[in-house]
């Protein structure tokens, strides 16, 4: 499975598309990471549609990274719409793009977590993933040095997100 993923640019249909991001109030991404398959991600910067730094392959993959950011940004509208229809924080699927789905989780503080994935990921797993990441996010919030709505740069948090994501793939 690992060797299949390495062939970036070829056989794209076999690549696991799994992209996670946390967006703060005001649509500012504070954490973005490419999960499952490609090692390492990129900590979000402020705003911007710049390409995520995890491009480990040819130009084809780079384009896809830009697309991913675009898809997630567009999905935010779907989130806004769904947030008022339910009292639970887990919003299930809020948007579709070709064969990719965007699932979302919105906290009371208007912090949204978005997961871009394909249909092969189980919903129950996604819900558990969101809840666990949310707990770790709360711990980041409790850090007095962390400013609310600023980029999350804690390596501990990133490591935890990666390890939680392994349960999704």
């Amino acid at each position: 499975m690992a060797s299949l993923r390495r062939r970036a640019g070829e056989g794209k249909s076999q690549q696991r598309m799994l992209y996670f991001c946390i967006v703060a109030k005001g649509d500012v991404p504070i954490f973005e990471v490419q999960l499952g398959g490609h090692a390492g991600g990129s900590a979000g910067g402020s705003g911007g549609k710049g390409a995520a730094g995890a491009g480990s392959g040819g130009g084809g993959l780079q384009q896809k990274e830009d697309l991913v950011q675009f898809i997630l940004h567009a999905a935010l509208d779907g989130v806004e719409h769904k947030v008022w229809t339910t009292t639970s924080m887990y919003l299930k699927t809020v948007d579709k793009f070709n064969d990719l789905l965007v699932s979302a989780f919105a906290t009371a503080g208007h912090v949204k977590m978005l997961l871009l994935h394909d249909h092969r990921v189980d919903e129950g797993h996604i819900k558990a993933f969101f809840h666990d990441v949310h707990e770790h996010y709360l711990k980041v919030l409790m850090n007095p040095f962390y400013e609310k709505n600023s980029a999350i740069t804690s390596p501990v948090f990133e490591e935890r997100v990666h390890s939680l994501a392994r349960r999704l793939t």
């Binding site: 711990k139 409790m142 850090n143 007095p144 040095f145 962390y146 740069t153 804690s154 501990v156």
Partner: protein
């Protein structure tokens, strides 16, 4: 007598102090630990914003701790029912087992003590002040729990011991617990001034 004060004997003679510590802790009014953590965190971050210099913040925390310690020692002696200490070994045990337990709720140990007793190390895990805290890279030299060093120094000063107290280990810097080294420099003699002259 000093040979008796080495590790194994220290362990067995610390039991009565541990009991005193637990009893005193039970009697004390409690507050929510997270409230303390977050209040202290807000205090430290505000200090950093105000002073911008990590060295100065360390000093300020120590000074604040000193002021606290000067007042705290009276409450401690009143509520803990400890007898006066005959040796420095007992002083170290009282600070670790009774005082730290009473005020912070942590189980603190005396991990080493010099042969004359004047220098000893305190060690405890699960520091309530540092819960959830991660130091950003620009504050890597910050002694986050320095207030505790000040408290110990202030308290010792009020009982006529001039000391130097430093943080040696910190959970925020990769260690498994918090380590504090106390060095008693001088024992002051109480001097009374004659009022008549």
């Amino acid at each position: 007598k000093q040979a008796l004060a080495r590790q194994p004997e220290v362990m067995s003679s610390s039991k009565p102090y541990a009991r005193l510590g637990d009893v005193a802790f039970d009697k004390m009014e409690k507050i929510n630990a997270e409230l303390l953590t977050m209040t202290y965190g807000a205090l430290v971050t505000q200090l950093i914003k105000d002073y911008q210099d990590v060295g100065m913040v360390n000093q300020e925390l120590e000074k604040m701790g000193y002021n606290i310690g000067c007042r705290l020692v009276d409450e401690f002696l009143a509520k803990s029912n400890v007898d006066s200490c005959a040796t420095f070994q007992e002083t170290a045990l009282v600070i670790a087992k009774v005082a730290f337990k009473m005020f912070l709720g942590v189980n603190c140990d005396v991990t080493s003590q010099s042969s004359d007793g004047r220098r000893f190390d305190l060690y405890f895990k699960d520091n309530p002040l540092t819960q959830f805290v991660e130091l950003p890279p620009k504050c890597a030299d910050l002694d986050y729990s320095n207030i505790l060093c000040g408290v110990v120094r202030g308290a010792l000063q009020m009982v006529q011991f001039v000391s130097e107290v430093k943080l040696t280990k910190s959970e925020l810097k990769g260690d498994t617990g918090t380590g504090i080294r106390v060095t008693i420099k001088e024992v002051l003699k109480e001097s009374y001034k004659d009022d008549d002259e």
